[in-house]
């Protein structure tokens, strides 16, 4: 009797789990369909975009992508390209497809950074040790030793040079609002931005 009860409970748990999995799978398939028919028109196949206006998404942190999509949807990220492109694109996305889109892109192979010259060496130093004179902390503290990112802190390695440069300038001027990044960049010089981008980016 007890065994039968246990069997029923186990069967019930399995059914519930498989239903949940099926639903996740359905959302996952929907996210992949959206990514391959819509998102890729700007962000490129698997997120490896060829135009610097549209950031690379391949290998980006899933939590960061999800957070940005929600910020686009609720308009809390309001830099010009966010308004022009992403407010519309994110407006009808629900939370589950947002999560799955993050997972889809997070699972793609990232683009490695290009190997740079003298400027990149300076950028590396800045990235790993910061610049105390300009109140710039070591970026690696949050973005990882290899700029691979961590949860809601994005991967920077391999991103388009022009996109990275524009984001750093936008954080500095508060065109893109983020208290932490503004504090980190507000005294950054243009040449420091160039150096960092030279180290991190892939054109």
């Amino acid at each position: 009797m007890k065994l039968r009860l246990v069997a029923i409970l186990v069967a019930g748990a399995c059914l519930a789990a498989s239903l949940a999995f099926a639903e996740d799978n359905a959302a996952g398939r929907a996210a992949e369909a959206k990514a391959t028919t819509t998102c890729q028109d700007c962000h490129g196949p698997k997120g490896d975009s060829t135009v610097a206006t549209f950031p690379r998404l391949n290998g980006q942190q899933a939590d960061y992508i999800a957070a940005q999509l929600k910020n686009f949807r609720d308009h809390s990220r309001s830099d010009p390209h966010a308004q022009a492109y992403m407010w519309g694109m994110a407006s009808q996305l629900d939370d589950s497809i947002i999560t799955e889109l993050g997972k889809y892109y997070g699972g793609q192979t990232p683009t490695p950074p290009q190997s740079g010259g003298a400027l990149a060496a300076e950028g590396k130093k800045l990235y790993l040790s910061g610049a105390p004179a300009q109140n710039v902390p070591a970026c690696a503290t949050c973005h990882g030793a290899h700029a691979e990112g961590n949860s809601i802190m994005p991967r920077l390695a391999g991103q388009h040079a022009d996109y990275l440069k524009k984001q750093l300038e936008a954080f500095r001027s508060t065109l893109r609002e983020n208290d932490i990044m503004h504090a980190n960049t507000k005294d950054m010089t243009d040449s420091q931005i160039e150096a960092l981008v030279s180290y991190l980016a892939n054109d």
Partner: protein, 458 residues
């Protein structure tokens, strides 16, 4: 002590009142945008450098059937959960108004004025957007001040879908349209080519063009199938038939001219390379049409019964190219086109309306434009037509219609959907001569035209 507000307080109240009015009364940019923007939530710059020129993403949107949307919808599904209805809550309607004034160097004749003002020069209403998941339409209804009439303008209804074939992104679709090349994705082919806007026809001299360069606009119906692979390779083939429109029956005294015999096959192939902020397209296009009861540039017409009408046959083949550089600060575009036309004037020659049994005609242009922040722009264009000497067919004093002219334009856009333009057209050669081209002393440069316009899209 008086409790009535003093003068300073009244001034403050007026000031704040005006301020509040300005804040609430000014249209928010999100509300004042045309159909596709309403449907997608994307600002103009996503699809256009400056309207109506398309960006690579704009080309993908068009090739995908105008169906991309980010609005609430009215939906229905069947028992197998297939979608049977997907209608946007917000109808994709928009409008445009063009007002202009033009001044020609020398009046066309003693009874004409040098200056012409049109308000509106043109007003159009658009339904442009999705009809279902895979069907979309671009439909334009236009009031034209010159003719004083309202008629169906460019129309392009499409079915499109996308498939992943061997890792390649394949957009494929079908277009039903009323103007060869209106369905095209680039601004180097005739329908969407430059200049995007010109002074009204009463101010501009009539210069012949190849058949595909506008002669068939809105008087034909075409069906074509196309594919756009990896947003790069574009191939299309279709056919056009003549279509009678209510408009032309009302206004055109004789409606049985230039009717396509059977169907006119149309083709288009193009390849676009995209790298960094650059995009470069190179392509070919053409149409082959036998026209029953043809008219001639000289103004003659054959008016036989359509049951036994003779035909002139035209074969148009063209090459085109478009280069774009697009970023936030700078938008550069260069468009070029060459169209070659073989004219077999079997009917016109027999009727005594052509000096030769066959002629050739070539038309070419090159236009380069630069915009700063999508706000301030300048462009320069060069245009030329040349062809066989055929005095009877062309009706010009020189016997040919060889002409060349240039345009210079500056544009200012205080908002993305408001364009102010100043355009100057200078004619170097007209109807085969630079001076006295009509035998009555009119020079090519007498047609030089200064044109100022306001173009609103909303």
């Amino acid at each position: 002590m008086s409790h009535r507000p003093g003068r300073a307080q009244w001034l403050l109240r007026i000031f704040f009142g005006l301020f509040a009015f300005v804040l609430t009364g000014l249209p928010q940019s999100a509300l004042a945008v045309p159909s596709f923007a309403r449907q997608t939530g994307l600002a103009c710059e996503a699809c256009h450098t400056v309207f109506p020129q398309l960006t690579p993403f704009g080309r993908v949107f068009k090739a995908s059937g105008y169906t991309l949307f980010n609005t609430q919808k009215v939906e229905d599904i069947d028992r197998t959960k297939q979608s049977t209805l997907s209608l946007s809550d917000l109808p994709p309607i928009s409008a445009m108004i063009i007002a202009g004034t033009s001044s020609v160097a020398k009046a066309n004749d003693a009874d004409s004025s040098k200056v012409s003002t049109d308000f509106p020069q043109q007003a159009s209403l658009f339904y442009a957007g999705r009809i279902s998941d895979n069907i979309g339409a671009y439909f334009q209804l236009t009031y034209d001040d010159q003719s004083g009439s309202i008629g169906i303008d460019n129309t392009d209804i499409r079915f499109a879908d996308v498939a992943n074939v061997d890792g390649h992104n394949v957009i494929y679709g079908v277009s039903l349209n009323n103007n060869p090349t209106v369905q095209d994705l680039w601004n180097s082919t005739p329908a969407w080519g430059q200049p995007f806007i010109s002074a009204p026809s009463m101010q501009t001299p009539a210069i012949p063009g190849a058949q595909i360069e506008g002669a068939m606009a809105q008087i034909v119906a075409g069906l074509s199938a196309y594919t756009f692979i990896d947003n790069s390779l574009y191939v299309e083939a279709g056919v056009y038939r003549s279509a009678l429109q209510g408009q032309s029956v009302a206004n055109n005294g004789n409606t049985t001219n230039n009717i396509i015999s059977g169907v006119a096959p149309y083709w288009r192939a193009a390849y676009e390379w995209d790298w960094g902020k650059n995009s470069w397209e190179f392509g070919t296009f053409g149409i082959s049409a036998a026209l029953e009861n043809p008219t001639t540039p000289a103004g003659n017409a054959i008016n036989n019964s359509l049951q036994s009408a003779p035909t002139d046959r035209f074969l148009d083949a063209g090459l085109d190219s478009q280069y774009q550089f697009i970023d936030d600060e700078t938008q550069i575009s260069i468009d070029a086109r060459w169209t070659h036309e073989n004219q077999n004037l079997d009917a016109s020659y027999v009727a005594g309306f052509a000096s030769n049994k066959s002629d050739r005609f070539d038309s070419a242009n090159l236009i380069a434009g630069y915009y700063w922040h999508r706000k301030l722009g300048a462009s320069l264009g060069f245009f030329a037509v040349s062809g066989s000497n055929d005095p009877l067919y062309l009706g010009t004093a020189s016997g040919n219609s060889n002409s060349s002219w240039g345009t210079a334009e500056i544009d200012y856009l205080p908002w993305l959907n408001v364009k102010l333009g100043l355009q100057y057209t200078a004619y170097m050669r007209f109807d085969g001569a630079s001076s006295d081209y009509d035998g009555a002393g009119r020079n090519a440069s007498d047609n030089n035209l200064l044109y100022a316009y306001l173009w609103l899209a909303f």
